[in-house]
Subunit: 340 residues, 2 copies
Amino acid sequence: MEDRKNATIVDVAKMAGVSVATVSRVVNGNYPVKVETRERVQTAIETLHYVPNVQARELNTRRSSTIGVVVPGLYNMFFAEVIDGIEETVRKDGLSLLLNCAKNDPQQEMNCINALVSRNVSGIIVISPNTADIKESFYADLVKRIPLVFINGYHRIPNVSYVGNDEKLGSRQALEYLEGLGHQRILFVRGANSDSYAIKEESYRQHMAENKRLEEQLIVNIGEGNGVETVDSTMARLLEIIPQAKPTAIFCCNDLMAVGALNACKRLGLKVPEDISVMGYDNISLSRLIEPKLTTMDQNMFQLGSNAAALLTEKIKGGKSKRITLDNVLITRDSTGPVR
Amino acid sequence: MEDRKNATIVDVAKMAGVSVATVSRVVNGNYPVKVETRERVQTAIETLHYVPNVQARELNTRRSSTIGVVVPGLYNMFFAEVIDGIEETVRKDGLSLLLNCAKNDPQQEMNCINALVSRNVSGIIVISPNTADIKESFYADLVKRIPLVFINGYHRIPNVSYVGNDEKLGSRQALEYLEGLGHQRILFVRGANSDSYAIKEESYRQHMAENKRLEEQLIVNIGEGNGVETVDSTMARLLEIIPQAKPTAIFCCNDLMAVGALNACKRLGLKVPEDISVMGYDNISLSRLIEPKLTTMDQNMFQLGSNAAALLTEKIKGGKSKRITLDNVLITRDSTGPVR
DNA sequence: CTGTTAGCGCATTCAC
DNA sequence: GTGAATGCGCTAACAG
């Protein structure tokens, strides 16, 4: 391993017989340089394999072309798809992406943020920030020094930009769709510890109450709702509940739970959608890989990511904070049908 | 948005009434400082919200605490899980992770690499490098300047470290397992354009030939094998092939294809595993979410990532290049059973 | 123990 | 058009 130092601008200058300033000019193309010298410099660059040192450049321009992204984890395809959206958009602006996993740990989340700040990123996107367990001043202070965008954040903090879905409206739409198919006994399946579930539950309660058919036994919380174990734990739980509650449809707060519900129905000998309808939320890729393909509400993960990236670059350029709310759209597939 | 400049080491020094060197010492804790002054400095740091500028530090220590990761895309959970492994390991060494997607485009892949080099990363991990379409000298030159690790790379380049699975052995194991269940007509399903598939096919051919039951019609290539559309395209294809070839088992080169095979069987009214066995490869999370749960070969994605990270830090510290080959392990679940 | 100083690699005035 | 000089924020000798 030849530890031959990488060539610097000085080396190039020497080889080309010019000053470093000139080299800088041809590299950045921001000032006129005589064609002949430019060519001399360029061949020097090539033979030396010279690559400008971005750190040094950014140190003295006090700008930075990398942004930070903090995500709860990659195990969940939801986040992976969001990141995909961020990456693609951000690349078009010539920015690079520093990725950190917070592992659902608030302390870790703060560590990640600090690491990003010290790396001098020009902005940060946080997916599902744990605003409940981090004292508000942390993010409030942070946003004074650096542009901040939250994806799926529910506590409003001044000056941070938000991208999210209108899940209240989305749940209502889902419920109305099921009712349109004639369903009245709709089981509501949620997980623990996320504002997202709370919002959906509220929407469900409100809607069912309006129609005078709210029953507490139709609401079930299956605990941790975001891991791979979610599928199995949902199934186990519903194996008991379905026979008791006898719903004609099941509305799940995310697709993992819906797949669990599907598996439970299968074991109970219930045909989907003939005997019972199952509906998910998110539209992760999994939902169209299984049989029957899942009817679900699309959370536009990719869009979430690309919008967040756009908002961030806007703030970096000095724009003000903004809030973008996307509409969930109903994806009708094969797991739902008319009540029989 | 208060564009109050972030505090620098000079500001802290002034406020604490000491020299910048002293501040540097308490920040890095590498030289003794009198308790009293240390405390003065620390309070200054806190009131100023001082965060050291890593770029500046690394510029003059000529070290870098970020590494680069190039991945074909995030849409495939395989890669997401590998990255998860990298991230976790790398964090323990205090390194940050710069993520780039090559989108299966060789040109893009080279761009990503160059961007990483100019950002002065201390090493690069490439997942499934496109060594076929990138001229060999590119990586050969690169590794002269910067430590390099390939995950699932098949062309050997001197001085780069490799992490991969023994897929040749793994396929053989899978085949033997199926044969142990009494299967003789085993359909082989592969995708296009990946050395990984070629290795498995070779293993299949060899094995079947040994037992004198190699039949060309039992080998099928379903084209693109890594996207979400893979499931459906595999299903469509097998819907035609299964009735003709009448296999008692199907061996698929990855889990997406296996799920497609499962769906095809369902449509054909074949019960799995009673009527026909289906086997996948990879053990992505999807494989244990569907019904029946898939029997598959575990590619240890997380381990792939963490081992690659370990190899990289080793090289960064001056170690030599290495090759790690993990063994695929058979995960027996519900999609396979004895031939009837 | 602590302060002074010299760069790290580069972009940018300001002269020429 | 081009070169010399300055400084970005920080660490690492080197003196005290």
